[in-house]
């Protein structure tokens, strides 16, 4: 094993992963250098409304005369950092809950697992809508809502990993030496989680982005006039005959979600010794 995350070369041998990385790098670049790339201010209304894509406005303008290309570029500044934040928050929360569930077992485990079952029984977006609506339409509340509906996947994964890892003799040896529960969990069991949780998180970034855009589309996430892909698509849905209004932010969402999934898949394959070996042979 070359490093903690498996053979670090193998991910570069997967064409889809490379495509994913290029797309994400493009969006990261767009987010960082948005003011330099975009020809107009994303909020300025100096133009005419609903201009077709052309040489002045590459992606046309929207109902408030704003340049859609500039807004799509600026949109990366909301979608990327927030989806990563979402994944970090829910992975953290889910890992703690799942760790407690797997380690302590018994009644605690039963209660936590039935709770996750309840979350799985609902479509995530419906639950997130309910929570976001209850908290009030604001992007911070959308983040809280999505975190609340996203932690159960991590809790399930971590619980399974802990259940598996605690069978090891080294865990028994550690408690024979007098380790407390907390020490066993943090020192002996936690290192087993890093790889799988990282892979799941990378697969979930796309989901988080989709949920965030979904809430914004419904008016429960980013608020106008912020340039956010989901809320831009919702404007496109209202003005259905002006195809460019919704199409370009929609493509932005599609490309980013797809790219994150490509990378997540590749990471999973690279970390799973069986598929990784198949790729090298």
């Amino acid at each position: 094993m070359a490093s903690r995350f498996g053979n670090s070369n193998s991910i570069w041998r997967q064409p889809l992963a490379v495509v994913g990385i290029i797309i994400i790098l493009f969006w990261v670049f767009a987010a960082i250098f948005a003011p330099l790339i975009s020809p107009y201010d994303p909020l300025s209304q100096d133009s005419d409304k609903f201009l077709m894509p052309g040489s002045l406005h590459w992606m046309g303008t929207d109902e408030l005369n704003r340049d859609i290309f500039s807004r799509v570029i600026y949109g990366a500044r909301i979608s990327l950092p927030y989806s990563i934040l979402l994944v970090v928050l829910s992975a953290f929360l889910g890992s703690i809950i799942g760790g407690i569930s797997g380690y302590f077992g018994g009644r605690v485990d039963a209660i936590i697992m039935r709770l996750t079952d309840m979350f799985f029984a609902f479509p995530a977006i419906v639950l997130a809508m309910a929570v976001a609506a209850a908290l009030g339409p604001e992007i911070r509340n959308a983040v809280i809502a999505i975190t609340i509906v996203s932690w159960p996947v991590y809790a399930r994964l971590v619980r399974g990993l802990i259940l598996n890892a605690k069978q090891n003799d080294y865990v028994t040896a550690s408690s024979l030496l007098g380790s407390s529960s907390l020490r066993t969990l943090v020192v002996d069991l936690r290192p087993n989680l890093a790889g799988p949780v990282f892979v799941l998180a990378s697969l979930e970034v796309g989901n988080a982005l989709l949920l965030l855009s979904g809430l914004s589309f419904l008016g429960l996430g980013a608020q106008p006039p912020a340039a956010e892909w989901g809320s831009m698509v919702s404007m496109g849905a209202v003005n259905f005959d002006r195809w460019w209004v919704g199409l370009f932010p929609g493509l932005a969402i599609l490309s980013a979600v797809l790219a994150f999934n490509f990378i997540g898949d590749a990471l999973r394959d690279a970390l799973d010794p069986r598929t990784a070996k198949a790729l090298r042979d």
Binding site: R4, D169, Y170, A173, S175, L176, L177, P191, N192
Partner: protein, 322 residues
């Protein structure tokens, strides 16, 4: 010699579905400081279960284990009582008993650090223990996968030694190792027992090693101790038919015509132990009585204890011929 670990009438049960399986059924044992007790028996006879119950990994259904004056209880969620940290275990599989993602030094230093010693001191101790078990000091900075099975077992031994235990239960510590490291690890254990005056319960099915290193031997069959006594005495004149059969199964390299004695059948299912003497269905000397009456665990004149109706309490062991 005052025993440091005393096992009194210990039983351990597993539940399989709604059925109770008695893996250990009423065992008495003791081991003193500086003494090596070999615990031998076929696979499935309950010797590992017994070892785990002694350190407190498993809960005994009946009976008790006393360690240094206090009764051992099962390790739970809470921190193990400091008193019992002096009762340690070495596991069979040196690949599962070390955390693959932590440095060797940190793992050995765990015990002393939990005991309240500073990190640098604990790591210093880890390095000198590694040296003591025959590994380089700089192994503290390395990970388990950089070592062979035999080396890993030495590391596991160093980890147990780090808190200067009074008793170590070694559960098949050499059976997962290749032949060349088996002898080395066994010798290391013998030397450490002498050096630190620990008690060692050496669980093994390898009779030739047990004969070489043990002061005393306990022979286990289907959850019960059938014979226990000084190693040489048992080897010279086994008093239980099972002991005799077990020892004749050791191949002899010196070419002596010692025809291995086949035991008919397998170890019976411990869920349905045979009536009377548990060994009677396979015993070449079984009598009618054996099927109905459970033999007492009697002391013979030379101090050993045996459970067989052929032997009389207080007299010299009768030679068994079959």
């Amino acid at each position: 010699m005052k025993p440091i670990v005393e096992v009194n009438n210990l039983s351990v049960e597993y539940t399989r579905g709604d059925q109770k399986v008695g893996a250990v059924a009423g065992v008495d044992l003791h081991v003193g400081a500086g003494e090596i007790l070999g615990l031998v028996g076929e696979s499935g006879c309950g010797k590992s279960t017994l070892g785990k119950a002694i350190v407190g990994i498993l809960q005994g259904a009946d009976g008790e284990v006393n360690f240094d004056g206090q009764q051992v209880s099962k390790i739970g969620r809470g921190q193990r009582d400091a008193h019992f940290r002096n009762l340690q275990m070495i596991f069979q599989d040196p690949y599962g008993s070390l955390n693959p993602r932590r440095k060797i030094g940190d793992q050995i230093a765990d015990g002393p650090r939990i005991g309240g010693i500073s990190k640098s001191e604990a790591l210093e101790k880890a390095a000198s223990l590694l040296e003591r078990v025959g590994l380089p000091r700089n192994a503290v900075e390395r990970y388990p996968h950089q070592f062979s099975g035999g080396q890993r077992q030495r590391i596991a031994i160093a980890r147990a030694l780090a808190i200067s235990p009074k008793v170590i239960i070694a559960d098949e510590p050499i059976s997962a190792l290749d032949t060349s490291s088996q002898a080395a690890v066994a010798n290391l254990l013998v030397n450490l027992v002498e050096e630190f005056q620990m008690g060692l319960i050496f669980i093994s099915h390898d009779l030739s090693i047990v004969r070489r290193i043990s002061d005393r031997v306990a022979v286990m069959y289907l959850g019960k101790i059938v014979e226990t006594g000084k190693t040489e005495e048992i080897w010279n004149s086994p008093a239980h038919p099972y002991t005799k059969a077990l020892m004749s199964a050791i191949p002899h390299a010196d070419g002596k015509a010692f025809i291995p004695l086949d035991l008919p059948g397998d170890v019976p299912n411990p869920a349905y132990p045979p009536s009377g003497c548990r060994f009677h269905p396979r015993c070449p000397l079984a009598q009618g009585e054996c099927a109905s009456r459970e033999p007492l665990h009697v002391s013979l004149s030379d101090g050993r204890k045996v459970s067989c109706i052929l032997q009389e309490a207080g007299s010299a062991p009768k030679t068994l011929t079959f």
